[in-house]
């Protein structure tokens, strides 16, 4: 069977929706000076066509190790990885035809123009020679790089270089899985949002996308499904709402300026502290975990606090709250 047929281009719905990535019992161990360290420990994961999966985890959790194994850069210790049904370890070249990767902190070659870079990688990824000019034009338009096509890459800003990498990743006739390792690290907020819009726009292509990020906001904006990894193991998987729902409380009441409270304010805060769990106390601020921030009695308590001049805010739990709870690092106040 030809590799392209495995994807079910024929229209068979079962095949068309088959996972583009299937990871089974994946384990990666390193033998270091301090003994055996397991970076990935029995991971199972699937990514389906048109799905964006965000991998969240602290530094050293095993995110990049997982991506590097999927990308064929690192050999697993145990377990299997299939891209479009092809085993990455046994048939790396065939599997990589369906794969595109933007490695973490990757810098494209600086002395090529944007168009030369895109054309080169399109050819390397199997685009027929006659189709390369049209594909380059399409990718330049899709990534908003048309006006920079003849600019040397080293003359571009960090955000535009990220777009070049994305254009390179999208080149080629058969990409089905896109791996993005921290795709917006080191770029300014405006450029980050423009990269998000580009990634969001890729849903229409029915690519499966697996991305790692340290930006919770990025996962919230982009991901259909979030996978939280810590200590080499998946500690939670689900939609953003499902991950948030794992917390035993629904909102947070943040109180600041505790050292400047009036007597009434102090009494109100003490009353709240006796009824709600104090999630975090930091300097002259604290966070109370409330069951539902939209319940009238909770809203009324906020009004009473502000009426006494207490600086207080009420918010539903965020993905960040859930993430920090899952990885056990505690929670911090927003700046």
């Amino acid at each position: 069977m030809a590799d392209t047929e495995r994807l079910g281009a024929s229209g068979d719905p079962a095949r068309r929706d088959a996972p583009v990535l299937r990871v089974r019992h994946l384990t990666k161990s390193y033998r270091g000076r301090t003994g055996l360290r397991t970076a990935n420990d029995g991971l199972d994961l699937e990514v389906h066509p048109g799905e964006i999966v965000a991998l969240l985890g602290p530094n050293g959790a095993g995110k990049t190790t997982l991506l590097r194994q999927v990308a064929g850069q690192l050999l697993p210790t145990a377990g299997t990885i299939e891209i479009a049904g092809l085993d990455v370890v046994r048939r790396p070249i065939a599997a990589k035809r369906f794969l595109s990767v933007i490695p973490q902190e990757c810098e494209p070659r600086g002395d090529l123009t944007v168009e030369e870079e895109i054309r080169g990688f399109a050819a390397l990824k199997g685009t027929p020679r006659s189709a390369i000019p049209a594909e380059a034009d399409r990718l330049l338009a899709e990534t908003g790089l048309v006006e920079h096509r003849r600019t040397l890459i080293r003359e571009l800003s960090g955000g535009l270089r990220r777009r070049v990498l994305l254009a390179v990743a999208l080149a080629g006739p058969s990409t089905r899985l896109l791996l993005l390792d921290e795709p917006t690290t080191g770029v300014d907020p405006e450029a980050r949002r423009s990269v998000w819009r580009l990634i969001e726009g890729l849903r229409a292509r029915r690519l499966g996308i697996l991305l790692t990020t340290h930006y919770i906001e990025e996962a919230e904006y982009l991901a259909d499904r979030v996978v939280v990894i810590d200590g080499g193991r998946f500690v939670a998987q689900g939609t953003v709402a499902e991950i948030r729902a794992r917390l035993p409380y629904g909102g947070r009441l943040e109180i600041r300026g505790l050292d400047h409270l009036t007597a009434n304010g102090r009494a109100l805060v003490a009353d709240l502290e006796s009824r709600y769990r104090v999630g975090l106390k930091l300097g002259n601020a604290e966070r109370l975990e409330v069951p539902d921030p939209f319940r009238p009695e909770v809203v009324a308590e906020l009004a009473r606090l502000t009426g006494e001049g207490v600086q207080a805010t009420l918010a539903p739990v965020s993905l960040e709250d859930a993430y920090l709870s899952l990885v056990g690092t505690g929670a911090g106040f927003d700046a």
């Binding site: 064929g72 490695p103 973490q104 494209p108 002395d111 090529l112």
Partner: protein, 247 residues
């Protein structure tokens, strides 16, 4: 992947890398003209009259082998630092495509350097090189180039960090420059070191070029056979793709 597809990928990748390096004027001039002519001038002044052919051969060995070893290793080091190497590993290409493309992208500069060295040596320093041997010499340049590529690949592939690769490349470069008899006859070395020297492909490259210039076809054939053996050895190692996928 078919062999034809592999060659197409090598051609594409080489073109990309060549385009990039051609935009670095310092590299082009330094690699192809300034360095070889400078070394030739220096050696020609120092060399005894009967060693001037050796000085010419030694300079060509630098052009075709040592610079390539260093450039290939350093390019792999830079690609690892910029994560471009990871990008290549995740492409549907074999390690040989990447290695061949990096190496081939430096070949035009090496050939230009060898041609400049030969021209300046003959015309400027009146080193006696029979004109009839020039085609054979150029064929030998390719053999020397191919027989030493694997050293650069091994340094680049086995080094984990750019700094490590850089230090290995410097160390091997110094060893190859001063402990391979490219600038002096192998007989100058103490006997134990002669055996070490015969393990280097550079020694055989030097023997080959010297044999061609002085018209010793037996010695040239013997050296060519050894060099071809090195080409097979390196090709096998590159095909195995040492650390292309890390463990």
């Amino acid at each position: 992947m078919s062999v034809r597809e592999g060659f197409r990928q090598v051609a594409v990748a080489t073109r990309m890398l060549l385009l990039e390096s051609s935009r670095e004027l310092g590299l082009v001039l330094g690699f192809s003209v300034i360095f070889p002519v400078g070394i030739l001038f220096f050696l020609n002044v120092l060399a005894a009259p009967d060693l001037r052919v050796q000085a010419l051969v030694g300079t060509i060995m630098l052009d075709m082998a040592l610079l390539n070893v260093n450039a290939l290793a350093q390019t792999m080091g830079q690609d690892k630092a910029r994560k471009e190497f990871d990008l290549w590993v995740s492409l549907p290409v074999r390690p040989a495509v990447y290695t061949a493309a990096v190496a081939l992208s430096y070949l035009p500069y090496s050939l230009a350097a060898a041609a400049v060295t030969l021209g300046v040596g003959i015309a400027g320093f009146h080193i006696p090189v029979p004109t009839s041997t020039i085609p054979t010499l150029f064929a030998g340049f390719f053999l020397v180039w191919a027989s030493t590529l694997g050293i650069g690949f091994l340094i680049g592939a086995l080094g984990r960090t750019p700094r490590q690769i850089n230090s290995y490349a410097q160390l091997i470069g110094i060893l190859l420059t001063f402990f391979a008899p490219v600038f002096y006859p192998v007989t100058v070395l103490p006997v134990p070191l002669q055996w070490v020297a015969y393990a280097w492909p550079l020694t055989w490259g030097s023997r080959y070029l010297t044999a061609v210039v002085v018209g010793n076809s037996g010695m040239a054939l013997e050296a060519a056979a050894v060099l071809a053996g090195y080409v097979v050895l390196w090709s096998t190692l590159i095909a195995l793709g040492l650390r292309w996928r890390q463990t």
